[in-house]
Structure formats: structure tokens, C-alpha cells
């Protein structure tokens, strides 16, 4: 499975990559903000290698995560999106779900909880 990680912290992307590798997913695309992510999505859409799962941080420079989610959902209602952020307030979680995320992970996270959310999200999508 190809996974895209969108986070301005390379440390967080590396931690996420380690978790995904443990789950057997090593085909990873990385972006440092929403603008980079959209450019990468446009590029991969044209060569049919778009990601099957996207993890998105909320607070990022240039374009934040919630804006990115809304932009993606304008054209793509299917690709599973997981928000992975320090934003833990209930109204933020509701806002993200309304914008179209499939799951929500609050930082700090441990490896097990992130792995569980990824598995849970993919299982739900597979079940339709």
C-alpha cells in the first residue's frame, strides 16, 4: 500500500514511517505542508500511483491540514485520510470529521495506537 505522510516535522514523518514499516508498508510519499501535498497528489494522479492512505498534520506552514483535507475532498471522496495532530479539542475533532477525515490520532501517540488507527481505518474502508 502506498501511503502519503504530510507533516512539517521530519521527525514525526520518520516515526510514522517506522510504524508503517512494522505494518508492512514501505512505499511512502512525503510532504512538508499542504501545498507540497497537493502538488504531489496532482503528479501521482496523472501517473496512476496515487496514495491509498494519507496521514495529515493540522498545523503546518503554507497550507494547514484542515484546508488540505477540504481541498482533497473537493475531488476525492474515497482516499482514506487520517488527521494526526496535537489539536485535541472536541470542536477540532468534529471540524475535521465534517471536513472529511476518516480517523483522528492525537499527538503524543504511541506506536501501538497509531498502528491500530491505521489498521482500523483501512478495515473500515475495505468493508465499504
Amino acid at each position: 500500500m502506498r501511503v502519503m505522510l504530510v507533516d512539517d516535522s521530519r521527525t514525526i514523518r520518520n516515526i510514522q514511517k517506522n510504524v508503517l514499516a512494522q505494518l508492512g508498508h514501505t512505499d511512502i510519499l512525503e510532504a512538508g505542508d499542504g501545498v507540497e501535498a497537493l502538488a504531489l497528489l496532482e503528479k501521482t494522479a496523472s501517473d496512476s500511483s496515487k496514495p491509498e492512505l494519507i496521514l495529515i498534520d493540522w498545523n503546518m506552514p503554507n497550507m494547514d491540514g484542515i484546508t488540505l483535507v477540504r481541498k482533497i475532498r473537493e475531488t476525492d471522496k474515497v482516499t482514506p485520510l487520517i488527521m494526526c495532530t496535537t489539536e485535541a479539542q472536541k470542536d477540532r475533532v468534529i471540524e475535521a470529521i465534517k471536513a472529511g477525515v476518516n480517523n483522528y490520532v492525537v499527538k503524543p501517540f504511541n506506536v501501538e495506537s497509531l498502528a491500530e488507527k491505521i489498521d482500523q481505518t483501512m478495515a473500515k474502508v475495505a468493508a465499504g
Binding site: 516535522s9 521527525t11 520518520n14 498545523n59 496535537t86 485535541a88 479539542q89 499527538k107 504511541n110
Partner: protein, 169 residues
């Protein structure tokens, strides 16, 4: 010193370091800081805006910062590593973000992290906002969490509105 402003940071720093750095954090008694100078080698800074103004600063000696960054990133990181500042900034981000959720009735935004490498700098915001130091120790060494936070006038208006609504119910 308003403990309602401090306790969220105490809980947050414990949670973040235990979950992401895998160390148990012991928190000492918070105290008011007399000056505005940060004397540690490495500091991660997050600003607050919206219903609160101010900042939180996480400060480390260089060796402690390297050990914390390495355990956080699960790889050896020294002061010259390209991810060193990123890791320290992200730890500060998590401490601020996690504390923020405890202020559920307030609309607070947090800034992107800034990292200062070098001693004797001043974080300059309000001169009147009290600066509270939360001294923390763990097996890596000492970590100082400094909080300067003031609730805005909008919050006072909201508190007053809530009190009126409560009195009328």
C-alpha cells in the same frame, strides 16, 4: 500564580515525555521567574494567540536535548544533525498542543515551533505577564518548562456572559 494555567502544562509535559521520549518525568514545584532571560543551551518555543496570549518555552542543556531528540526520533541525533531542531520544536509543539486541550472553553491558537540554539536570550512579549518555571527532571537530565500565559479580555466577556446565563437558568 494561577494553578489552572499551570496544571495543564504539568500534565502535558509528563504525558509527552512518557509517550514519545519513553522517560518518566518528575515535576518539581513551579515558581515565579524574576527575569525574562533564558539561559539554557537549547530552547523550543511555541506562542499562543486567540483567547490567550503568551508562550511556552522548553529549555535543555545541550547533552539533554541531544538525548531527548534521539530517544524521541529513535535514532542517534547530535547537535549538528539536520533533524535536531525539528525534534526539539516538535516536542515543544506537543507539550503546548496537549496543554491547550485542557482549556476547552477557550479558542486558543498555537504557533509553529521556533528553536533557539544558544544561551542568554530574552523571549519578549508582555512585561506584565507572570513567567512561571516548571522544573522537570528525568533520567536524561533537567528540562525546564517556562510558561507565560495571559487570558484575553474576550475570555472575561465570555465568563461574564456565562455567569449571567447561569444566574438566569
Amino acid at each position: 500564580m494561577d494553578v489552572r494555567l499551570i496544571n495543564p502544562f504539568v500534565q502535558s509535559v509528563k504525558r509527552v515525555f512518557e509517550t514519545m521520549v519513553h522517560v518518566k518525568m518528575n515535576v518539581g514545584k513551579p515558581f515565579l521567574k524574576g527575569d525574562r532571560v533564558c539561559s539554557a543551551d537549547v530552547s523550543g518555543i511555541i506562542g499562543f494567540s486567540g483567547d490567550a496570549a503568551g508562550c511556552v518555552v522548553l529549555s535543555f542543556a545541550n547533552d539533554v536535548a541531544c538525548k531527548a531528540a534521539s530517544q524521541f526520533a529513535c535514532t542517534e541525533i547530535d547537535g549538528n544533525h539536520p533533524d535536531f531542531a525539528d525534534a526539539i520544536g516538535e516536542l515543544a509543539n506537543m507539550v503546548a498542543g496537549n496543554a491547550k486541550k485542557e482549556f476547552a472553553d477557550l479558542n486558543i491558537q498555537i504557533s509553529l515551533p521556533s528553536v533557539v540554539i544558544g544561551k542568554q536570550f530574552v523571549v519578549s512579549n508582555s512585561n506584565t505577564t507572570p513567567r512561571i518555571v516548571i522544573p522537570c527532571t528525568c533520567e536524561l537530565g533537567e528540562i525546564i518548562v517556562e510558561v507565560a500565559m495571559e487570558l484575553g479580555t474576550i475570555n472575561e466577556e465570555r465568563k461574564a456572559a456565562t455567569a449571567v446565563a447561569g444566574a438566569n437558568s
